[in-house]
Structure formats: structure tokens, C-alpha cells
């Protein structure tokens, strides 16, 4: 299955959106995870958090209506819904680390079959810092990694992460354009594949061992 990045991201965002349940508090990471907001079903009301200090984050403001006092964790202008709330960073991370965030969706450089995640540093090359990612991954009730299955041919779903970890054993689910995998005590459980791929292709593009779910499904997008 060969799709371009744009299509891949759309598949991933759509599939992740299906994980969100009515009433949940959700934190969407910068980049691909942000796209998830576009696919939340109309009958599912979720509250979006931005870790710089708000819940009830609304859409991007219309051009000319930006308020420079209201930005998201990526530094972009956003809006707030009329049931939202602003607060300071300490409160924001009380929500995050305290388990009040139901789902956090993040990208990854690497993720492995034990639920380890690496997404904040490539030593000697790229040192952006962890920002709020370590707290989010440690504190959120459910951690979903949303990323393209491979990076320019390199396999990102590892037997064991080689890069420094963001958190140990905290990932619950991995969603790529090819597959949906759950981290279980026995290892990575392949639960769904995209209709245009095969189990063999997914196995080939995954370094980690995969347990094939006996109820393996096709992604229902």
C-alpha cells in the first residue's frame, strides 16, 4: 500500500478520532495529532486541552480575528469555546499528570512492543526538548501514538526503542495508515489493518513482533 503523506495522515487522524468518547478530555499533540480534531463525529462532544493553559480549545480564528492573548501549545492563534477555561501551567499539568486527561495523542520517532516511546531527542542531532510530552505520556489515562508506519523506509515500531525514552511502558495504542495495534502484556496486538494493505506487509514494515488478533478487522473509516 503506497499512499502519500497527506493521505496517510488523513487515514490516521480519522482512525484516531474514532477512539474519542463523548465527554472526554483530550490533548492532541502538535502536527499530525492536531488533525484528529477535524474528524471528531458530530455527536461526540470532547473537550480539547492545550497544555499552555486552557480546556475547551476551539477552532483557528478567522483571519483578522486573532487575539494575541490566546494561543495553543504550538504558539498558534486559537479560540476558546464558551464553556472553556483558562488557567496557569501548574493547573494545566495537574490535569495532565493527575490522570484527568482521558486521551493524549502524540507522534513518535520510535515506539516499541513494551509501550516505550521516544519522541523528544536524537542525541547529537536534534535536541528540541520534551516540552509537556513526558508528563502527558506519564499522566494521561490512554496514550495513542499517531504516526506514519515508517519514516523514509526506516521501521519506527521497534522491538526496543534505541533512542532515549519519553516514558517507559505508557503507550496503549499505535495508529498508523496501515494498522491499529494495541500494547498488551504479551506484546503488540495487531487489531486492524487498512483495506489496501495485508498482514504480511504490516509485519514486514514492523520491527516488533506482532500478535495477530483472532478478530482482526479492516479499519472502518
Amino acid at each position: 500500500m503506497a499512499v502519500d503523506a497527506k493521505v496517510a495522515k488523513e487515514i490516521i487522524a480519522k482512525r484516531v478520532a474514532m477512539e474519542l468518547k463523548h465527554g472526554q478530555l483530550v490533548n492532541l499533540g502538535i502536527g499530525l495529532p492536531t488533525l484528529v480534531a477535524n474528524y471528531i463525529p458530530k455527536d461526540v462532544y470532547v473537550t480539547l486541552q492545550s497544555e499552555n493553559g486552557m480546556v475547551g480549545m476551539g477552532p483557528t480564528p478567522e483571519a483578522g480575528k486573532e487575539d494575541r492573548h490566546i494561543t495553543n501549545a504550538g504558539g498558534q492563534y486559537v479560540t476558546i469555546n464558551n464553556n472553556g477555561a483558562f488557567f496557569d501551567t501548574a493547573m494545566s499539568f495537574s490535569l495532565i499528570r493527575g490522570g484527568h486527561v482521558d486521551i493524549t495523542v502524540l507522534g513518535a520517532l520510535e515506539v516499541d512492543e513494551k509501550g516505550n516511546l521516544s519522541n523528544w531527542i536524537i542525541p547529537g542531532k536534534l535536541v528540541p526538548g520534551m516540552g509537556g510530552a513526558m508528563d502527558l505520556v506519564t499522566g494521561a489515562k490512554k496514550v495513542i501514538v499517531a504516526m506514519q508506519h515508517t519514516a523514509k523506509g526506516d521501521l519506527k515500531i521497534k522491538k526496543a526503542c534505541q533512542l532515549p525514552l519519553t516514558a517507559k511502558g505508557q503507550v496503549d495504542m499505535i495508529v498508523t495508515e496501515l494498522a491499529v495495534m494495541e500494547v498488551t502484556e504479551k506484546g503488540l496486538l495487531l487489531k486492524e489493518i487498512h483495506k489496501e494493505t495485508t498482514v504480511d506487509e504490516v509485519i514486514k514494515l514492523t520491527e516488533a513482533d506482532l500478535i495477530i488478533d483472532e478478530n482482526l478487522k479492516v479499519m472502518d473509516l
Partner: protein, 217 residues
Amino acid sequence: MNKVVDYSVIKSLLRDGMTLMIGGFLGCGTPEGIIDLIIEMDLKNLTVICNDTSFVDKGIGKLIANGNAKKVITSHIGTNSESGKRMNEGSLEVELSPQGTLIERIRAAGSGLGGVITPTGVGTLVEEGKEKILLNGKEYLIEMPLKADVALVYASKVDPFGNCYYQGTTRNFNPIIALAADTVIVEAEEVVEVGQLNPEVVMTPGVLVDYIVKGDF
């Protein structure tokens, strides 16, 4: 009590080698006028404690690009290419702290707590050199408090006594750093009269504030 002063007074409070905490999240909620003052003074060897190093041309990012800081304690430097460059060259020391840990370390110092017991960072590089503790069967790191000589606080509104109100997401680190420094300086978009701020919506009590300057935002 009227704590409003002009920038010349602020200038007299700042010196080479100081440890500064500065509010802001990617430039939103940063006292830009005081940043510009520091650049004009060309202060050296500052230690800066802040959420992130912003962008090369915005807020705290300018201090990095201008070489005022010898060390930064922060959670993210990825949006400012000068931070990584200077770190690799060895002219800037960078201590990375997870965002939630960073703000709790500042809060701990400001609240008289001896440290922070957090699960964040366990099993990662963050735990290096730190004490670990097992409580109720779970492993935690003990992270140490962070204090500063001066806190540079942005406020949307301030009254002359120092009571602060922060609009939108400008709040971020500002009310917490106001607890954790020997001297607290507020730069505000608007100085309102005493009595204009409802005591219920004051987000930093004026008793924490030493000096106020009216900014030009």
C-alpha cells in the same frame, strides 16, 4: 502603595550573572519591554528559567540569540535554532526539565516545599543524577526546587499595588514565577486603578509584586 516605576528603575535592578525567571509560552505572555531592556543593557552570564526559548526574534528567544544567557533551564528549545546551535558550540548550557516538572519545581520553591515527587521522567534520561523514591509501590523522581533572583512577569492588567490579571493563555508561568523570586517585576499591558480589579479575579496578589512597569504592547 504605588509600585509603578519607569524602565530606568528596572534597569537598576538587573545585573550580569543573575538568575531570572521569565513568563511566557512561545512568546505569549512575555514581558517584551524588559527583554528589550536586557538586550540594550547587554547583560551577560544570565541563567534563565522559562518554559521554552521561544523564537529567534520573539520574547526570551531574543536573549538567547543575543548571547545574554550562559544557561537556560527549560522544557523546550526546538523552536529557536540559536538555542541548539549555541548548545552544540558550548556557549549555552541547557538543562531540560519536563514542563510539568519544571513548573512544579518553581512552585515548590515559591511554596516552601523541599522538592517535587513526580512519576514523570522515570526510566528516562531525566532521572540521571536524581534521587528516586518508592511510595506505595510506585517509583518517583525527587526533583529539586528552582528559585530566582528576579522574576519578570507579564500581566494584562495590574493595579498600582501589584494585583495582576492575565488574559487568555498569557497566564502560563507568570503567577507561579511570581512566588519564587527575591524580586518580582511586572510589566503590564494596562495599569488600572486600585479597586478596578475584583479581588475574586486577581490571579497574582499584589503582595508578591515589588515593581511595576507599563509596557508597550
